[in-house]
Symmetry: C3
Subunit: 259 residues, 3 copies
């Protein structure tokens, strides 16, 4: 679906985007979902989360502050989403940094429910079985990240590897998205929020590859616009989020996607 | 108590407003409590929460990210508040959307401890046993919401049904509050924060109907003032919260309450 | 280490500062850690938290929304930090207000792992065995707080008692820091954030007394600069956080430390 048409669809249909996410950036994930035009909901206890996915149009799973019970619940909710045909974004925050994170991300992949994996180079490389150096939740370097992304994609996922240039692939198609701004790297939560934006786009677009490309391009455009005048980091974050609500058809001309 | 007198009482006595609330808007609930002039505290584990209510002047219960243990604790803390005569606000976030939310809200009502129920039309209608369509935590439509509010109120609660016009009733008295601004609907957390503001007002006002009306009117006035110049949503949210700290006697003239 | 040299070291080496903290101010703690130039990580489940401390340069423990399991995990993680020689800051939020908070803080002290205790006068007095009034998380009155701080310090901790003037002592050395602004008292989270800033400084400074003094002085300077023009409270909070990222060598001349 064409980017601006997707935005219009989200604004018109207000899809419910259900999150099981971390406690650090949970507010920002909710607010950016609302800014894009969708309705956010966050529910993490078992029965509540399983019922909620039944009325949701997309599911976002983020393991940033995981615990055993939360991961068990995520697996159940992902399986329910798969039964229902509801698209799922996974953000494997810190995979590679600790065993529980790597294992949780792998368990979620094993459900076969994950439509889109969004991570940095270190996380994607880890999940592809490679070796990456991940410090806490920041990726410092990764060898052969591009081929890792392609390898993961071949297993039936859209892989969105975010960085200065975002790299999206479904194994056959590839897109490089140059939108965005370096200020996005100075604010906690910009990675988590991008998964929420992807959730909103794939809720309305039957093609998750296109949905993911459009999500990251529009998010990057909002980042570029928000960075005008070099605001301080937290001012920038507000503008990045608010900017999603006011993206216009002409803003979309800023899209820098190479296929 | 007259509205501005209530604000002065809160600022002078700094009542402790204890919250068991959700993880999405917990910061904003704490900060608006502080902005109103009260002291916020958030404690959710059993013994800590029960002890804390012993030194609190009001209790706010919000089921936005409930789990079984949290609801069990809320019931205990509500019962303790009842013993102590401490007023309790309940925000039944998403009641009607899933079974655990509807049941948790009903269990809390069954304690007989709930002084004020603050919800949207869908939540209020659900609790009154009616039929409502609730998508996630947003109310889409509700039949006969006004009579549902009155029915609930007859069981001994103040019911605050929030929307474009807030409807407050204790079964005998009724007030319609037209303060507020449509921007409040574009920011996550404005509903949750209104329950915290009610908590601060009923902590100092022995009449919870008047306290609730005053809370929602002053919150709406802060919203109207914050919306001047059409700020972007997150800027608006900061102004809405900060505005509570600077409400002056003359601002109160903006009050639009019909009884 | 000289203050500005510490800031440069943090910006150059980007130490990982691991937090087990509360759900109210968790975002602000993460963001200020990033603003100082360090990398924040938050992990609270047992195995994840223990592994994470293995790659961290400092640990921050905050009991603001404690529960039994979280405190047990904090004890384990503190013991692991001690084995590794990793410095630990403890923020005993609300110690003195309820039994679980006081006991949790004492259990953490008993590990022998706590390098720096940062609290208000009520919390510090409580931990030294004195009498204090703590309402929720605010210190209302404390007798003999200065000698309480000294007594705690004698047990091998750096004690940072924050207030209008911050009082830091390691039992032998003492520093009084007059930087800061009264607006810091009107925003939820300024106390929690100061512990994160201390975490970043003691991650790079082998002398935790100097690290703590430098952290509080630079944080206070950012507060003074952020308060210029009398912003509203939440605007001030953004400036306080963002200000840490732009502190320059000349800003350090504002340091007001009396030894």
């Amino acid at each position: 679906m064409e980017l601006y048409r997707s935005i219009e669809r989200i604004r018109e249909t207000k899809p419910l985007v259900h999150h099981l996410t971390n406690w650090v950036t949970i507010y920002d994930c909710a607010q950016i979902t609302r800014s894009v035009g969708a309705l956010p909901v966050m529910a993490h206890s078992r029965q509540d989360a399983v019922e909620m996915v039944g009325i949701a149009s997309a599911l976002v799973l983020n393991i940033g502050t995981l615990d055993d019970e939360l991961v068990d619940t995520m697996v159940l909710v992902a399986e329910r989403a798969k039964e229902l045909g509801t698209p799922v974004v996974m953000d494997p925050v810190g995979a590679g940094a600790t065993t529980p994170r790597t294992e949780a991300a792998r368990r979620l992949l094993d459900t076969g429910a994950i439509t889109v994996i969004k991570g940095n180079a270190g996380e994607i490389t880890t999940l592809a079985g490679g070796i990456a150096e991940v410090r806490g939740v920041e990726s410092m370097a990764a060898e052969g990240a591009d081929s890792a992304a392609k390898m993961l994609a071949k297993e039936g996922h859209v892989v969105a590897m975010t960085g200065a240039v975002d790299h999206v692939t479904d194994g056959e198609r590839t897109a490089l998205i140059s939108n965005g701004h370096s200020l996005m790297g100075e604010v906690v939560g910009t990675g988590c929020m991008s998964a929420s934006v992807i959730g909103a786009f794939i809720a309305v677009d039957p093609d998750p590859f296109e949905g993911t490309v459009n999500a990251l391009a529009s998010y990057g455009i909002s980042g570029e616009k928000g960075a005008e005048g070099s605001p301080a980091p937290l001012d920038f974050k507000s503008r990045l989020i608010d900017g999603m609500a006011s993206l216009s058809r002409s803003d979309i001309d800023m899209m820098k996607v190479e296929r």
